[in-house]
Symmetry: D2
Subunit: 304 residues, 4 copies
């Protein structure tokens, strides 16, 4: 079977599963997405692409955006960034403040909310400019100039974002936050609201499967060591409190978002995105997790 | 010896102690207060008053204000208030968020910052009106119409108040905060900035020594049960993380503030305020603690 | 009304309350005690004694024993003991290990289990000798040579005492435990099993109402400062996680045990013990708490 | 370069590094091992073996033994074992009790001490029999009948093992410990004391590189899913609090021990063991980590 046949088969299998998880309901714009949506997209370092289902439909990338901002921060600050944020699994909820207090304002890793806020603070150059830079970076990574913020989602996030506001002020109280919390949160709520399709995401993540070099353009996005670092962080910290189970069932570096997308990378080979809006208890897409699990099973391509 | 002789003697003893503690330095207006200041004031239920030293000089009451807002909240909401805040010692730092997270947004008591913010939120009726009500209440308690906010202090608190901002947003994320964090914090930073003298404070706290009835005016401020509640809370939670030692050395219900003031109550008899700006490691005034300790020693009047 | 009339009235009122709490059931010997038991005993510094109900019936004193071992440790080590144990409320469950880990093996106070185990370790001079010394001390305090360990209770505690065993080994891992955990636990389980009546306990605690001097014999048990320290510790840490509410409802220094006994002290006046085996949610006797609350209400003698 | 040349080159490079880390000193038998020791051993699924330096010298495997007991437990209990222990990174120190208390006695994963103790408890069939079974299992995995406990090490561990004793009793207090803590600890201290060489360990771990089947004998040790599970657990939890950095620098599933050994697996290809007794701050061998990092660099064989 070639990859197209494999993802077709997976699509059919997963599509008919009765339990589709629970669509995130904390903001209306997410709650309204039908749980029947399912898309799969594979991009290979070689240039080949395969997709099935709703792979061209845009959805809210949410926490997947943390990989883009981390990449920008590593480009901008190199290893200096690790003075402000750790690189280890947290063992706590993604929005917990407990560990942050015990560890004096240094978040455990860039994928828990506190760490992601520090990262966004570190690339902040004014609200407008930072938002523009970020969008430009993602457009260039995905080769799609048609990528935008969803202002309605950004606005809803802002309305309900008290916990993130608490985290930002808490970081500031420890001196680990340079700019105005409100300004950085403005960018942060926008980055989470970015809309991309499975195809966009697979293309945008391909540099991580190719040692930091975007194969489409032969451009170095980050160096080889940095690409390895990001992949290692995704595997150990990329899927909330389900990192251990995800490593077992899927066995790939991956980043998930509450919009239902999960992007994974098979180093030296390909990137793959699956999207289905229903979430499991840990906040990862139930069906997208299943898609990725079956993909590593059918291709025999997990890292373990 | 009568009370005047006793406080004179204590004043002389304490005045010459070489270690005066460390004046709070997180905002300029506090840092500038000379550590040589020392005032003592005693007000008796009987109407007699005694004072010595800088007892008429105003200082920043800071956390002592939490007793006034709590009193207002108890008048306004009676026992309903205890649905939003606990009544037990926290065992943690006054500005910790750890316990708040483990206990889902219900602060342990009204004297840690989180609890005090809930209390201020509960009496909030608009920034201007709440500030006006509070000032009026304190003026009437102390019989001094000349009590004001120190706008410079309030402004400094606001500049450096990231931790309190974090706490307010955190409470809001748990649904235990009704109004806008910024608005309530505006009131909160103002209440901490109120300037009162030892004499003002002793007069204002006298109702707690008199079962809830202000002896000066024979007015019931709170009922007997509520007065007992406030005294019990002061003894078990009123002096930050030094409650146990304070109970031992002083043995009176008391509330301290980082401005260096401490007000204590001997139920059925008197209220006493001591002020000296230098703090000990727990954040209580070093010399004011000593004054109160000697007062209970010389009068034999501790509760233990 | 004199004290006898007061406690008679309280006895009648409390006796008929329908909710008697829940008798401790983790060991059979405690579970078997009928919840209808109720005793009250008052001993005055003046020598007068009053009692009603089952005031002469022995029950398991459990955690009340922590006051006796603390007193022995203070006699033996004076202020040195505070290097090994703190003096502040813990804000955590009496058997929690969390705080102990964060604070590197120094228990918060002598009344949580970890602190009590350090105290027993500090007075340890061999299993047999320590047990004998303790019994002798308590017999002499209560003037009753007929006080014994309940070996069945001690044995049951040992069978179910895994948590205490964990605490002792944990303390040892921090170097804050001198002797063999098993040996000290043997003493500890025995001290908890001691059987005393309300009358025994009131007599034994009277030195704490009399500035450290046993009025019956005019013997100094501890000095005045130490008696004040113990009373302050009882008020701030003596009733598990209900210290704040207990201070409010009762307003006296007191120590409770899961056997249903509570001993309280009115400094300079009297000691009072109430016993009823049914516990409230915090682990304090429901009816004994009520007895003490009514006693301070009817006599107007609370410290607040 | 073939593998022999690669490990020779790495050996030369690492051998001369001036900083050799700090040899574990909590027990004499470990403290005495010279920090100049360095061994590397590679075993391939194909049957080829390569080694250099002290690859035949036995050392104390310590926590590496947790992989063997986990394997036995998975064989014995299949997925039932996951009712008693989790599969996620802990984010806390390997010997912390805090998380255990918050999560009611269910350890986060089988490689922190609490989890390892539960695992040993789960395979316990009497001290003698369990020790015998374990030794037999390891001998058969490594094809070396000459593997023994180091009784001196086991005895020292027992002398200093208060923390582990605390953990076992704590687990027992939550009902997550079936047998006598002392008996299980006896086995546990022995399993940690097992002496094996790099060659022994590489051979013993080869089934994890070969989907659960020992290539030497073509025997299924665990099924394919279980092998994947163990590898995933090693990558996400196998190297104490350095999991994130280890994933980045080395990028292989691995398990370390304070004796200075680290065994890693390249799925579908080989197992590799490096040994050098000096540890880094996280408790992993400094030079063995370096060896593995260089190995993945020179062979290009990391999972990322």
């Amino acid at each position: 079977m070639n990859y197209q046949e494999i993802i077709n088969r997976i699509f059919e299998e997963v599509k008919q599963m009765p339990d589709k998880g629970k669509v995130a309901s904390y903001i209306p714009a997410l709650a309204e997405v039908p749980d029947s949506k399912l898309g799969i997209s594979v991009c290979m370092n070689s240039g080949e692409e395969f997709s099935v289902g709703d792979a061209d439909e845009k959805f809210s990338i949410q926490s997947i955006s943390k990989v883009f901002t981390l990449t920008l921060a590593m480009k901008m600050h190199a290893d200096e960034i690790w003075k402000r944020v750790g690189r280890e699994p947290s063992g706590n909820s993604f929005d917990s403040l407990v560990q942050l207090e015990y560890e004096s304002g240094i978040p455990r890793n860039p994928f828990i909310n506190a760490g992601a806020l520090v990262i966004t603070d570190s690339i902040f150059e004014g609200v407008g400019k930072t938002k523009k830079n970020l969008l430009q970076f993602i457009r260039s990574l995905s080769g799609n100039s048609n990528i935008y913020f969803d202002e309605e989602v950004a606005d809803s996030e802002k309305q309900t974002g008290h916990r993130n506001r608490a985290v930002a002020s808490f970081l500031k109280s420890y001196g680990n936050f340079v700019n105005s919390p409100d300004d950085v949160l403005d960018v942060y709520f926008h980055q989470c609201s970015i809309e991309m399709s499975c195809n966009d995401l697979s293309r945008a993540f391909l540099f991580l499967a190719n040692s930091g070099i975007q194969p489409q353009s032969n451009t170095e996005i980050v160096n080889k060591r940095q690409a390895k670092r990001i992949n290692a962080l995704m595997l150990t910290c990329g899927t909330y409190n389900a990192v251990g189970d995800f490593a077992y069932y899927v066995g790939l570096p991956a980043k998930s978002g509450v919009g239902g997308g999960i992007v994974a990378v098979i180093p030296k080979l390909l990137s793959i995105t699956a999207w289905s809006p229903g979430l499991n208890e840990q906040g990862n897409s139930l069906l997208a997790s299943k898609v990725l699990e079956l993909f590593t099973t059918y291709t025999g391509n997990s890292v373990f």
